[in-house]
C-alpha cells in the first residue's frame, strides 16, 4: 500500500501536465454539472416562492352585505385547499393600486375599485386544476362579481418548471457522461504513457491488482481534487451571480460532500475500467 501510494505520487510527478489536465477536465465537467444543478436548484426555489403567491381574488359586487361576506369567508376558509382568506375593502384596494402603479400615484386622485376576497392556497394545492376548481366554487357566491386567478400565468409557471426539470435531467446526464468519458480517456492516456513500465512490472511478477492500485489511488486523488476545484468554481460563480444579478442559494454541506464523493467515485471507476482493459493488453 505504502508503495502504491508512492507510485501514485510518482505518477503525478512524472506527468505533472497530464495530471493537471486530468484534474482540470474532471473539475470542468463537474463544474458544468454543478452549475447546472445550481441553476436548477435556484429555478426550483424561485418557482416555489412565486408559486406560494398564487392566489385567487374574488371581486365583490358594490352592494355586497358584510354578513354574507363574513359567512362566505368562514365557508371558504374551511375548504381543505385553502390556507387563508382575507377581505380587502375598496379603500385598501385603491391604496394597493396606487402603490403598485408607482409612477402614477399622485395623479390618481379619484376613481373606484371594488373590494375583494383574497384567497391563499395551501402547499400542494397550487397546481392549475386545483386552483381552477377552487375558483369555480368561489364564483358560485351571489355577491361575487368576478373571480380572477391568472389561469394562463399559473399554466405557464408549471410548464416552465417542467421544461426546466427536463432540461436539468437531460443536460445533467449528458454532462455526467462527458465527465466519465474524459476521465476514462485521461487515465487511459496515463496508462498508455506508462505501458512500458506496466509490461516490465508484469514481467517481474507483479499481479494485476498490484499494478492497478497506484492508478486507482491516482484516480481517486484526481477525482477528489477535481471535485474540490469544481466546488470552488461553482461557489465562485454562484457568489458572483448573487452579487451582480440575483440572490442565489448554494449547495448545503451534504450536497457539497456528495459532489466530492461523486468526483472520487468517478475517478476511481474511470481508472478501474481503463486500467483493467489496458493491462489485459500486455498479456
Amino acid at each position: 500500500m505504502r508503495l502504491a501510494v508512492r507510485e501514485a505520487m510518482l505518477g503525478f510527478k512524472r506527468a505533472p501536465v497530464l495530471s493537471a489536465l486530468s484534474i482540470t477536465t474532471i473539475a470542468f465537467s463537474l463544474f458544468a454539472f454543478g452549475l447546472f444543478s445550481l441553476v436548477a436548484l435556484n429555478i426550483r426555489n424561485t418557482l416555489r416562492a412565486v408559486e406560494s403567491r398564487v392566489e385567487i381574488r374574488a371581486f365583490l359586487a358594490e352592494n355586497a352585505e358584510a354578513e354574507a361576506i363574513a359567512a362566505a369567508m368562514g365557508d371558504i376558509g374551511g375548504f381543505k385547499e385553502v390556507a387563508r382568506v382575507e377581505y380587502v375593502t375598496p379603500e385598501q384596494a385603491l391604496e394597493r393600486a396606487k402603490r403598485e402603479m408607482g409612477e402614477f400615484k399622485d395623479v390618481f386622485e379619484a376613481g373606484f375599485l371594488p373590494g375583494s376576497l383574497d384567497i391563499r392556497l395551501r402547499d400542494g394545492f397550487r397546481d392549475p386544476t386545483t386552483v381552477k376548481r377552487v375558483a369555480d366554487r368561489v364564483r358560485t357566491y351571489a355577491f361575487v362579481d368576478d373571480v380572477r386567478f391568472g389561469e394562463e400565468w399559473v399554466q405557464k409557471l408549471y410548464s416552465i418548471r417542467n421544461i426546466a426539470t427536463a432540461a436539468g435531467i437531460i443536460l445533467g446526464l449528458a454532462f455526467a457522461a462527458v465527465a466519465i468519458i474524459v476521465i476514462g480517456a485521461t487515465i487511459r492516456m496515463a496508462v498508455m504513457a506508462r505501458s512500458r513500465e506496466i509490461s516490465i512490472m508484469r514481467l517481474v511478477g507483479a499481479t494485476d491488482g498490484f499494478i492497478q492500485r497506484p492508478f486507482l489511488i491516482e484516480g481517486f486523488v484526481k477525482g477528489v481534487l477535481g471535485g474540490a476545484l469544481a466546488l470552488g468554481l461553482t461557489w465562485l460563480a454562484s457568489s458572483l451571480i448573487s452579487r451582480y444579478f440575483i440572490r442565489t442559494e448554494f449547495f448545503d454541506a451534504r450536497l457539497a460532500f456528495l459532489g466530492l464523493l461523486g468526483g472520487a467515485v468517478i475517478g476511481v471507476v474511470g481508472s478501474a475500467v481503463s486500467v483493467g482493459r489496458q493491462i489485459r493488453r500486455v498479456l
Partner: protein
C-alpha cells in the same frame, strides 16, 4: 522443472517460429541455447517465462502448465524466475538502485530488507559506484549488468538469460559467466541464449542448438539430429 512437449509457436504476421520443440531442463542444470539469428532462441525463453503461450503443445515450468494458465498464476510463477532480457528493459525514470529494488518491491519484500540486498547485488555485478545513475547515463555493458542484478534479486530457482553478454567485453563476459556459474552452483537452473561460441565451447555444459525453429542438437542426447526442413 522445465519441460517442452511438442511445442509449436506461430506468430500472427511472421509465421512459424518454433516447430515441434521438445526438451526438458532439470533442477540445477545449466543449458546454453545457441543457433543463428532468428532461429527461435528468444521465443523459447519467452515461452519459459510465459510471455508467449504455445500455439500447440505444452510447456511446464515448475508445475505450472501453459494450457489454461491464468494471469494470476503467470504472475506467481514469474516471482520464482529471474529474467535477463535481450533489450534489458530497464525503467528509464528510475536509478540503477531503484530498478533493482523495484523487482523486490513487486513481490512484497519487507522494505528494510531491500536496501542491503540491492547493495550486495550491485557489488556482485560491479556497479556499486553507479547505483544512483539513470540507465541513460550508463554504457551498454553497464545496463546489461543492471538487468542481471535485477534478475537475481528474488533468488530465482530458474534464471533465464537472453544474450546476457552481448554488450560485454571478454573480461566482463567471463565475470558475468562466472556469476551465473556461482548461482548455478548454489542450485539455480540457468537457461542462457548466446552467440558466444567460444564461451560455449570452453564451458563444457549442456548445449541446445536451435535452427529454423527446431532443436537440431542437444548435447544431453549426444547425437545430432538431421534438421528437417520447415514446410
Amino acid at each position: 522443472m522445465i519441460r517442452f512437449a511438442n511445442v509449436f509457436k506461430e506468430y500472427p504476421r511472421t509465421g512459424v517460429a518454433l516447430n515441434d520443440v521438445s526438451f526438458s531442463v532439470n533442477k540445477g542444470e545449466f543449458v546454453f541455447l545457441t543457433g543463428p539469428s532468428g532461429a527461435g532462441k528468444s521465443s523459447i525463453l519467452k515461452l519459459i517465462y510465459f510471455d508467449e503461450l504455445p500455439s500447440r503443445g505444452d510447456v511446464w515450468v515448475s508445475g505450472t502448465r501453459s494450457k489454461g494458465v491464468t494471469r494470476k498464476e503467470i504472475s506467481l510463477l514469474r516471482r520464482k524466475l529471474g529474467v535477463v532480457f535481450q533489450d534489458f528493459r530497464l525503467l528509464e525514470d528510475r536509478t540503477v538502485e531503484q530498478n533493482v529494488a523495484f523487482a523486490l518491491d513487486v513481490i512484497g519484500t519487507p522494505p528494510e530488507k531491500i536496501h542491503p540486498k540491492v547493495s550486495r547485488l550491485l557489488t556482485q555485478v560491479g556497479l556499486s559506484s553507479k547505483s544512483t545513475n539513470y540507465p541513460r547515463e550508463l554504457s551498454g555493458g553497464e545496463q546489461q549488468r543492471v538487468a542481471i542484478a535485477r534478475a537475481l534479486a528474488n533468488d530465482p530457482f530458474v534464471l533465464v538469460a537472453d544474450e546476457p553478454t552481448g554488450n560485454l567485453d571478454d573480461r566482463a563476459t567471463r565475470g558475468v559467466f562466472q556469476l551465473l556459474r556461482d548461482i548455478n552452483a548454489a542450485g539455480t537452473a540457468v537457461v542462457m541464449a548466446t552467440h558466444n561460441i567460444d564461451l560455449v565451447k570452453r564451458a563444457n555444459l549442456r548445449v541446445l542448438e536451435i535452427n529454423r525453429g527446431q532443436v537440431v542438437f542437444d548435447s544431453a542426447e549426444e547425437k545430432r539430429r538431421a534438421p528437417e526442413l520447415t514446410p
